[in-house]
Symmetry: C2
Subunit: 225 residues, 2 copies
DNA sequence: TCAAAAGTGTTAAGTTTACACCCATGA
DNA sequence: TCATGGGTGTAAACTTAACACTTTTGA
């Protein structure tokens, strides 16, 4: 063997992004209706290929940015998907990531140019290749993480009401929660701070707007919802 | 663009195995003292390269088999590691897996031929590349999983005492547990079945031997230790 | 004045934690 | 007979879950 490496094959390595958003309609994913081959006309995740000069994580960030215009987004790796024939065109080993974004902060124009749209998580169409498996795993992982760390705030605008926060967690867990018990738990989190601003959109009475203070969180990082 | 794929680079894809074992000395990992380049003389995980005709998961199984002789082992993917310069020799994107094996079932000869040895989890040497990060992530993931699913039994022989089971979980969590409370929880798991066999190795009095019944577990898969 | 959403108090049930104790056996 | 590890009972402390209630306000 002339070289430890060179007797081995090489592969295309892809990244695929499961992009979560939250609105009045609940949790959604940003999906592409592919207007390009392969699998034109079908639904898929936003993806791309890892390049020589970038890490796999950076490739995922780049791909997310190409679609949404966003930088510094909360992302987590879901895992590598490496079946031999997962992509019928060529062998591609793909690494899936999920991202949590505030829908309103994303670049609508870019999204439209990619022929992408927000689809409610409970009404997902069939997806190409193994993308549905990726979504299922991402959802489970996100749920786990969201119960133990305050990552949910990435899906909300900077100011939010407790009712919004609760319906976010109800959407993540897929089950209703008791309002009073929910609020008691939030009240114990010093880093979820009440502002003096009032939201008058959602109700006659108006609801207090809260914000997440990351600095305070890091001083005593306890979270459990 | 003549081809959707061909404008992109390709990469070596590796797999690395974090192999957990359990004995009277506690939790250990099976590590290689490398007698080959690169990084000869240093400690590393057992690894290998994905081949054209095998999935990434299958590559991990093959690599584990090459070292231990074992098939049908409990394995989970930890994730993909894709920094540009993680391997100083060539660019390699690697996918880490952890495996839980019964030390006594592994092929001692094969292990020795690879210059591998069992190293206590609390006395790990520095490892090459990003292998220490892989180990840290694997350990955390395994701990999580072990608290919610009965995967720990894969580390034990088919018959075990409750004291063994408890010290296994103490090693996984890295903290002591109350014996009585531990046993109360195990007693609620119908699928941890007492046999009529007695272990006389560990104590004068002798301890009842138990076994894990997977069929019963799948009928009501509840687990929480 | 009333519908709709915001916001709060109380208690029973269940779970966890801590600690103290007895049992069987071979050296 | 006693050191050693196997095996058990109980109660206080804490957490969770369930439900019922009051407040505010624009239409």
């Amino acid at each position: 063997m002339t070289n430890y490496y060179s007797s081995n094959p090489t592969f295309y390595v892809g990244v695929d992004c499961i992009i979560f958003g939250f609105s009045d309609d609940g949790l959604s994913l940003l999906l592409l209706k592919r207007n390009f081959e392969p699998a034109m006309g079908e639904w898929s995740l936003m993806g791309g290929f890892v390049q020589s000069d970038e890490s796999v994580d950076d490739a995922a960030k780049r791909v997310l940015r190409e679609l949404t215009g966003l930088e510094k987004v909360y992302m987590e790796q879901v895992g590598a998907f490496g079946s031999v024939r997962r992509d019928p065109g060529e062998r591609v080993i793909s690494v899936a990531y999920y991202a949590l974004i505030n829908i309103n902060a994303s670049d609508r124009q870019l999204v439209q140019e990619h022929n992408a749209s927000w689809v409610n998580i409970n009404e997902l169409p069939p997806l190409i290749f193994d993308h549905s498996t990726m979504v299922a795993q991402a959802r489970e992982l996100m749920k786990q993480k969201a119960s133990a760390e305050p990552i949910g705030f990435n899906l909300l605008p900077p100011l939010f009401t407790l009712t919004q926060l609760q319906s976010l967690y109800e959407a993540i867990y897929g089950e209703p929660m008791d309002k009073c018990n929910f609020r008691k738990r939030v009240a114990e989190m010093d880093y979820v701070e009440k502002t003096d601003k009032i939201d008058r959109q959602s109700s006659r009475r108006g609801a207090a707007l809260y914000k997440f203070n990351d600095r305070v969180y890091r001083q005593s990082p306890k979270f459990k919802i």
